[in-house]
Symmetry: D2
Subunit: 378 residues, 4 copies
């Protein structure tokens, strides 16, 4: 954390500062090896228990494009994607995440990835033919936080569907935007991710410096991934972007028409963090999917870092609508490189839900008033 004295309070109620405002007293060591040059989050490999049910959700309802499929796996992409896929649905016995996969700038970044994670003492595997279809030489690791991370450069190119308006649906998902991970110790996670080349764009803290979540990017959006404080390693969500807000509303309307409105977990709403318009869904296995639009450009090296007060009731929802408890507590298991679920470690820092709602928490709409909408409603 950074002392708030060193931050600037904005007219909108959050703070800005120049340096990433998070420090840890329990750091992962910084490797001497340079990290790979990561371009962006590229795809998630998701293990699902009922491939047909998942296909219905991601293809028939959400309208992702099928690049390739067989009876074991479905390779899906968003409208403007030109690489082979943004999501792999693989049939398996336990719903979990098999890989958070990032694309690197060049083939030799894979060597850097191997060196970086080997030096960190992580389990590292490399497959010259890739671990999934459409992807060539790839490195998979269990990172210091326990997550299965993949790095690759080579991939088959496919046609961008951006001009194929004849195939678009009202809720068109145009690109993979980001991942979100649950981990017990956010400052420790942030420090490691910074070593890996990520930059913090926003975070949530309290006055005493407890960090509840942090957003980090490689591509110049608010994030390629975020670290959400909670029991972990678990996957909080994977997020696709739409062009406009009505596209997100159309997804809700369609779920209602299909009598699947219970797939809507939270939203739609406007985030405080990121300023994006959002919706959270749960797929047939309970994996959380966000749909999101209109955050902001973050590509300058001195991009101001935003810190939100955890008690600001507009940080998670700019309209002050309450966050459902499941959104704080639920997450997907992640797998080790042999396909077994990683053990989950409990968070010991205070939880965002506990400090903002209920007897021990509070949230304000206006900084000088303790009582917010949330307290009145529940």
């Amino acid at each position: 954390m950074t002392d708030r004295e060193q931050m600037t309070l904005t007219s909108a109620g959050y703070y800005v500062s120049q340096e990433a405002p998070i420090v840890t007293d329990n750091p992962v060591a910084t490797p001497a090896s340079a990290p790979p040059d990561i371009l962006r989050c590229a795809y998630m490999e998701l293990v699902v228990t009922d491939l047909a049910a998942s296909r219905e959700f991601y293809v028939d309802i959400l309208g992702l494009y099928v690049t390739e499929e067989d009876d074991q796996a479905i390779y899906l992409r968003s409208t403007e994607e030109f690489i082979h896929h943004n999501l792999v649905l693989r049939k398996g016995p336990v719903a979990a995440v098999a890989a958070f996969s990032y694309r690197v700038r060049a083939a030799d970044d894979l060597d850097k990835a191997v060196a970086f994670f080997t030096e960190l003492g992580c389990e590292v595997r490399r497959s010259e033919d890739g671990f999934v279809k459409g992807i060539g030489d790839a490195v998979r690791v269990i990172d210091p936080l326990g997550f299965p991370y993949e790095f690759f450069h080579q991939t088959d190119h496919v046609e961008r569907m951006s001009w194929r308006y004849d195939l678009h649906v009202p809720g068109e998902l145009v690109r993979l935007d980001h991942f979100n991970q649950m981990t017990p110790d956010v400052p420790r996670a942030v420090k490691y991710m910074q070593d890996l080349g990520f930059r913090v764009t926003e975070d949530i803290q309290d006055e005493s410096g407890t960090v509840y979540a942090a957003w980090m990017r490689r591509k110049p959006t608010v994030h390629d991934t975020a670290m959400t404080g909670g029991d972990g390693p678990r996957m909080h969500h994977v997020c696709f972007a739409t062009h406009e807000k009505h596209n997100i509303l159309a997804i809700c309307d369609k779920l209602g028409a299909l009598r699947r409105s219970d797939a809507i977990e939270r939203g739609p709403g406007r985030h405080g963090v990121s300023n994006a318009f959002y919706l959270y869904l749960r797929d047939p296995d309970g994996h959380r999917v966000e749909v999101y639009t209109q955050d902001y450009y973050t590509g300058d090296p001195d991009n101001p870092v935003i810190t939100w007060d955890v008690h600001d009731n507009q940080r998670r929802d700019w309209w002050g609508n309450p966050v459902v408890p499941s959104w704080y507590t639920d997450g997907s298991l992640v797998l080790d490189l042999d396909g077994n679920p990683q053990p989950v470690i409990a968070r010991t820092d205070s939880s965002e839900m506990a400090v903002t709602v209920g007897a021990d928490g509070f949230s304000y709409t206006r900084r000088d008033e303790r009582e917010g909408k949330l307290g009145n409603q529940l």
Copy 2:
């Protein structure tokens, strides 16, 4: 109520029937006098306790146009209105509704209104110069349900602001859409309103025929007013329409920016009833204001009447998001013709909130499954 055997279940989960599916065993007598020919809901006269605070809410935030104002009252209209006003804010000691005002087709409809309500034994007053500025000859009554209703034809014309895009705001309110009233006995209220010339478009019932709410129209939209079951007579809300859904989201965003997100009570969301996109706000006195867009044409005499099952969790919010308790319980007092608050009579039929949430209630997403999203979330 009508037996569900006489209704047709649609593919979207609601029922349709040809005749207004509500009967009462406690009717208001039908007058022999013909009712006035009502065109539409035209304006509400609202008593507010702090005129400056209300002006800030309705003018600075919501962007209604000021036709005329002095230190006692402000006359406001929506973008496309050509009559003098759609809302009067009048300063007074107790927040309440002084009049639900309807425009009638011709001057002699006022004579009909006098005859109709006199025959009903109601208190009736007529003012040739109108009760407020901009309105000529008018009749005010306390109707059989205890509400202060006004009827008028003559009004000053003002310029429609539809082409004045230079003055429009992101959350532009384009027309007054409807009123919504709370009354203990909905079937009794509906019967009287039908005598007054209104037609039912939708309602909410349970299987045993208890009616929880009904929507009624003169102009060919889903409603000019609705009767919501609850302690009454009280005003549930007044509603303005926007052109597009993003206009409604813009109002939420603006309230967040002003750190007034606690003015957002419920939504935004998609209604099941009416199929409109909606938002509920509370003004500085707690008066509830809805913003709404995109219901459907109802002007044919055989327009199918829609009945929703009270346990259908998508009836109030098509996305299954929960209704906050205050939305069911809170309402504004209404005044008698001398300006004193009308006494509130308790509803004795079961309440919609009680039968849909909590230990004694249930809501379903799919007709054959008892467990819905609401039950899981709260």
Copy 3:
């Protein structure tokens, strides 16, 4: 025409007046018989030369819903329609309009229609089983202007698709909005339509009182039909409404993707007249289809009538974009009751195209400046 001295110039540049500002020196006689009580424009019967090509256009591209079809005809409806159809595509040798069909309030309005048009000396036919599927007792006439008009009340009810968001497309057409007819003598046409119960909402005139077009309504929108000055009787267009502007843009995008952008004749743009957002397409036979959204409520009997100056370059397109010549000159033939094309009579009044563009015309952006964008561009 009405003297401009009797009109009020608005801040947006058009005039308003209380009385319909059009008079004719060549009137159709007013029948002693009362006209039928028309509810709204209900459907158009269109003769097409290639049923498969038309089905592709109206169903696959525009997304209208098929109520019923066989190898001779296709019955289509828009999303929120509950009557059997809004458009009949019937296979025939010559592309033309077989009927402009209006729904009347009650069965006995058909007797009134017979009396009204018989007194006018028109050819009148009645079919108790209707002239097309899904419609019962109906009256067809060749009206005094030469157009095949139909009136009916009985129709089969079908399910409204408004809640079936799972079937909606990005360019969803939600309702039939209006017809538009080409006729040489607009004032004569208006007088007859007023006798039939229509009310004028807007018109285009020049200072000397030549009327170039007029809009008339039964339902409370800007029009159920309009009379456009030109060689006639011909059909100018049939119009469907969408909910939002992006729906109209989506139709353009889809036509581009299908390499059918040449089906876009004019727009998208914002009308001055009606204030609606619009697009004009041409179907495979050249029939013109408008898509339109967000005009305004006109249901009050004293709704101000709007008159636009023919030289105001923002009257047809509020953004001043030029009208393509084909939009002024092209129209569809209409059929007599035996299915033969009606002869076309040339307009003798000056044409709107001639007085606004070219050597003999002018258009202004600002009232006091003769030179507008149009003149500069062409």
Copy 4:
């Protein structure tokens, strides 16, 4: 140009290839010095002849935020910008562009800029205090194409207005998107820009390899600048992005309301190139401003390069609407480092307008048909 045999024709009608498909036989020499690491286009300095008129256009109409102003210059920024400005309006005798300014990654990139352009034989000036307010150490050059280019890193930070929805207008401009330059020899220009570190994303060619325009980027959008074939050096336009398409329509509506629709030169429409939704305006001095939304991510090093056939009538407008001649022919002068207009050199290659319209040109909607909409309309 690249042989079309080496390109892949997509289902949408354009070609893709892996390498930038443009070669020149008249190259600017490649410097041995490394180019500066450019982050993005950052601001344009525009000389205007009437500061008050320009302020009305950019502030009152377009809603840009004033960071700072005096009687000589106004410093403006878009909603989400955190650097001092995106546009400087400076009062001067001749309307022109004084600088196309790019932000570089670090302070020492300015040394690289000096070395790079000095080696190219260009005029180079450096000002440690910057050339305008809010910008520190900066380098200005007249580049090999004759354009005044600026590079800077240091800038004052200002508050992002993204969360200040209370200040947003319906046509909110959220970021500076790109510049567009007119130059006679596009392949020569592209080669030099590639040396400067830009990557080609799209271009327009004919079958014989004549290049009519090319788009190039540093940040991962379709472009930071484009080279449009024409007499030059001149500025074709500067472009701001909005969040949604309706924001662009709102600007048109507002211009109509202000009776300034003649400021709309072309559009709104959908580009083929970039897939963005667009509008072109002309400011009071005739400087062209584009408003634009929703292109696509281009940040991967193997991002497929798109080549459009110059005869494809959907390349400039996906809906096939004609491009007005002024859009091809008009441009703004650019200044040398002393503030004098640069001489304009005529293009000798064939012009895009000439090869696509008129007696010697053609445009097709479908590849195998010569006749397109454009030919039919004009």
